[in-house]
Amino acid sequence: MKSTKFTPARKLSKEEVDRKWWEIGDFFRRNSLWMLMYCTGCCAIELPPAMTSAYDMERLGMGPMATPRQADILLISGYLSVKSLRRVIYTYEQMGEPKYVVGLGSCPINGGIYHDSHAVINQLDQYIPVDTYVAGCMPNTESVMNGFVDLMEQIRNKTANGWVKYKENYEWYKKNQKAALGEVIIHDEFHE
């Protein structure tokens, strides 16, 4: 006769336990994403309708966050000048892991209308890894929201691993940053 006693689950290996905990963590993370909005460009104008009652980002569990150390998403809204890219890299490296980057508009993708400017970089993913792009000049608020839903789906499927790539290919990213920026360290009389 079979025992009616509860049979304990087989002992899981450390990797399996880790994976389970990551899944649990990812569930909570993707349902409470805090965004650090780096409003450099004109696409930032799409954020007020996304945040307020028109599209109500809060229903996806997303909210704005004031400091990089407590944020999950770095939102690059619009074009990035060389000068602000330095600050973005600083900010990105300050953020705790896991961290995700969303690029709004066509400027982070290929430079957009600033493709021939002396001051604006053309391809953001050469300098920091980008998980989701929202194309458009500027993107509709619906597509902005859709971009966030895409990001949540990516976190669920474990494909939003830009921060892992950044760690693995750190030398390559640093090389690109140096080539475009000269030096990444900020020399700024207001901080000296």
Binding site: V82, K83, R86, I109, N110, G111, H115, D116, S117, H118, A119, V120, I121, N122, Q123, Q126, N176, A179, A180, L181, G182, E183, I186, H187, D188, E189
Partner: protein
């Protein structure tokens, strides 16, 4: 009546009696432009500041590569008499030097630094006109000069995204071209009112 003279007339009289003006241009009742020699600029600014133009709004510059000159534009504002004044002067383009005006208008410090960065005009008298302000770690000629090519700089400096051309330009197709030629010859033949 308080003002027997209009503001512009007052200004013109003031400037003509003290300086040799190269050119005067009254744009409208709120804007006047004076072109001065480079040596007169400081004296003119002092005179105007004493006359009430206490606000230095902007120092701008224009590049004239054909004349080989860089034109500096000092824009002043008076809150008692509402006239914007532009004091214009031209400096040599190959070695542009303009003595600083921070003793007259201290706020011009940052405008001069900006001007040095974007046009390469030197401002001796300003202790840190060479310090970087907006462009950080710049490694090329001043970018707002007309012979600077931003596209070439951008191509050299920033990686571009590669796209493969998987589209078709319909107007370049052969039958479209033929039709266009036909239409063109027909239009030519109809010129002058003659019908075939």
């Amino acid at each position: 009546m308080m003002n027997s003279m209009s503001n512009v007339e007052f200004l013109k009289a003031l400037m003509t009696q003290s300086f040799k003006l190269v050119e005067t241009d009254v744009i409208d009742q709120y804007q006047v432009s004076f072109v001065l020699k480079q040596d007169d600029v400081h004296q003119a600014l002092i005179t105007l500041k004493n006359a009430g133009w206490i606000q230095m709004s902007y120092l701008s510059a224009i590049d004239w590569p054909d004349e080989n000159k860089i034109e500096l534009v000092y824009i002043l504002m008076n809150w008692e008499r509402p006239v914007h004044i532009q004091i214009r002067t031209k400096v040599d383009r190959n070695d542009p030097v303009m003595p600083s005006i921070i003793n007259i208008y201290p706020g011009a410090k940052y405008y001069e630094r900006e001007c040095y960065e974007f046009f390469g005009v030197k401002f001796p008298g300003n202790p840190d006109y060479e310090k970087q302000l907006i462009l950080e770690v710049w490694d090329d000629m001043p970018p707002l000069r007309k012979d600077f090519d931003p596209k070439a700089y951008s191509d050299k400096k920033f990686t571009k995204r590669e796209y493969k051309e998987d589209y078709l330009v319909l107007s370049e197709q052969n039958n479209k071209k033929e039709k266009r030629e036909e239409r063109k010859t027909r239009a030519e033949s109809l010129k002058g009112g003659q019908k075939i």
